[in-house]
């Protein structure tokens, strides 16, 4: 398992987390290149279908990141996604998929450092969990 490099899909909210990721880049903070970022207008836009589809198509982990509580540009989108991801994790557990493959984090526009450490931590965790078993199930 030494050579396993996890493939992560990141759904980042336009107003906070994507800007946070941008800041990580412009500040030249180093973090693993395993994440493919998709910008969404709000973490509340992330349907659980997106997360399942990413896993189904072989992503080893899915990161959903949004604004801190109280900071959502659309007032309350992040609260909804927080609950969705929690319920989705319960489903994944029942389906024998490690719930830790899905992660919800609050990352603000000023938290470049936090974004980098979230990704680093996630990559390390996924390396321990191993490749996504759904990749083989057709």
């Amino acid at each position: 398992m030494k050579d396993f490099e996890p493939n992560i899909i990141g759904f980042l909210c336009n107003w906070c987390s994507y800007a946070g990721a941008d800041l990580a880049g412009t500040s030249r903070i180093k973090y693993p290149p395993n994440i493919k970022s998709i910008r969404v207008m709000c973490s509340g836009r992330v349907d659980t279908v997106f997360v399942l589809e990413a896993l189904k198509k072989g992503a080893d982990g899915v990161l959903v990141a949004g604004c801190h509580p109280g900071d959502c540009h659309y007032q309350t989108g992040n609260y909804k996604t927080n609950r969705r991801i929690k319920l989705l994790k319960k489903l994944l557990k029942e389906m024998g998929v490690e719930p830790n493959r899905v992660r919800f984090e609050y990352v603000s526009a000023s938290e470049g450092q936090k974004f980098a450490s979230v990704v680093t931590e996630f990559v390390n965790e996924l390396k321990k969990i191993g490749p996504n078993p759904l990749r083989e199930i057709k």
Partner: protein, 335 residues
């Protein structure tokens, strides 16, 4: 009687040649055909039933002897979980001009599809070995082939994973419901008789969700906490979801006239996903989580949110009761 008929003749002036078959199903779909009451006489007037194991004495070899596309329409109910069912699905596909997936099991896997949270070994263990009412000292479980003095005995293979019909053969139309509403059956039969079928692949049910047909008054969706039906003392005359009962209505295709709601029971999702929805359960998870605890969401701690979510006892059985094989993650990952 129609064996010598030329293919073009069939279905024009002649009676419609129809077949029914059941695979992994409970038999309710067969009964649903009779639920159309006296209209069954119209069906019989318009159609010859060539094959219907539950009602008439026909054999597999009768079907095998038919020319390809000899049957005009085959209504196929049930999911596919054994090699026999797969064989019959392929055989009837070849012999039928139009193949209709009839009922939730054929459309989306249905209740038998919930077996996908286990595999053959686990199912056999419970069914034949380890349960309080079974005595099986020789530990006999079904085998595909057993040699006895008299010769070799064969049984169909029991698969690890239950599939819906379109995962095995090409399906022309889908008629969901557990069982399909008699009106939907008659609509489908009418469309077939009058040759007014929609384009291939269509679901023969309305585009709107169950909520559209539900009699309850609906207002702004907010849920304080999730309750199971027995936990509600007095049911109010309004949307069950708003009263905290998980009702799959918003994520489920209508056409059933919301009959369960008429009996004060929540929708459990037999109509399958709404149009253009990839995954019925995930859609419901998104919808439910969005309105759960919405009033105090800004003040709620993560622990309190977790406690709210914890009240959903069985996500797979609740959100995928009839559609697990058709879901994005369609079986449990076995360790």
């Amino acid at each position: 009687m129609s064996k010598e008929k030329k293919e073009e003749d069939v279905g024009k002036n002649k009676k419609l040649q129809v077949a029914f078959y059941w695979a992994a199903s409970c038999g309710g779909c067969e009964i649903a055909v009779l639920d159309v009451d006296e209209k069954i006489l119209d069906v019989v007037a318009a159609a010859d039933i060539l094959f219907w194991p539950v009602a008439i004495d026909t054999k597999y070899k009768d079907v095998e002897a038919m020319k390809d596309k000899h049957i005009d329409v085959c209504f196929f109910n049930g999911a596919i979980r054994t090699s026999e069912q797969e064989h019959m699905a392929k055989l009837l596909r070849a012999k039928s001009k139009v193949l209709v997936a009839f009922g939730s099991c054929a459309c989306n896997g249905g209740i038998p599809g919930l077996a996908n949270i286990a595999n053959r070994e686990e199912i056999f263990n419970v069914a034949y070995l380890n349960n309080p009412s079974t005595e099986n000292p020789k530990k006999t479980t079904p085998k595909t082939m057993v040699k006895v003095k008299e010769g070799t005995l064969m049984l169909p293979e029991f698969y690890d994973t239950v599939k819906n019909l379109n995962q095995v053969v090409d399906v022309d139309y889908y008629l969901p419901g557990c069982p399909p509403h008699p009106d939907r059956i008659m609509d489908a039969v009418g469309a077939i008789v009058e040759n007014k079928l929609p384009e291939k692949g269509a679901v023969l049910a309305p585009l709107k969700s169950v909520c559209d047909e539900c009699r309850f008054e609906k207002s702004e969706k907010k849920i304080k906490e999730i309750k199971r039906v027995y936990e509600v003392d007095k049911l109010e005359d309004k949307c069950l979801l708003e009263q905290g009962i998980i009702c799959m209505g918003p994520a489920t295709r209508g056409g059933c006239k919301a009959r369960c709601l008429d009996a004060n029971m929540p929708c459990t999702g037999c109509g399958g996903p709404t149009p253009n929805s990839l995954d019925q359960g995930a859609k419901m998870i998104s919808a439910l989580a969005s309105i759960l605890g919405i009033e105090d969401e800004e003040k709620m701690s993560d622990k309190e949110v977790e406690a709210l979510i914890e009240k959903v006892r069985d996500p797979v059985g609740t959100f995928y009761r009839y559609a697990l094989p058709a879901a994005l993650i369609n079986r449990k990952v076995m360790k």
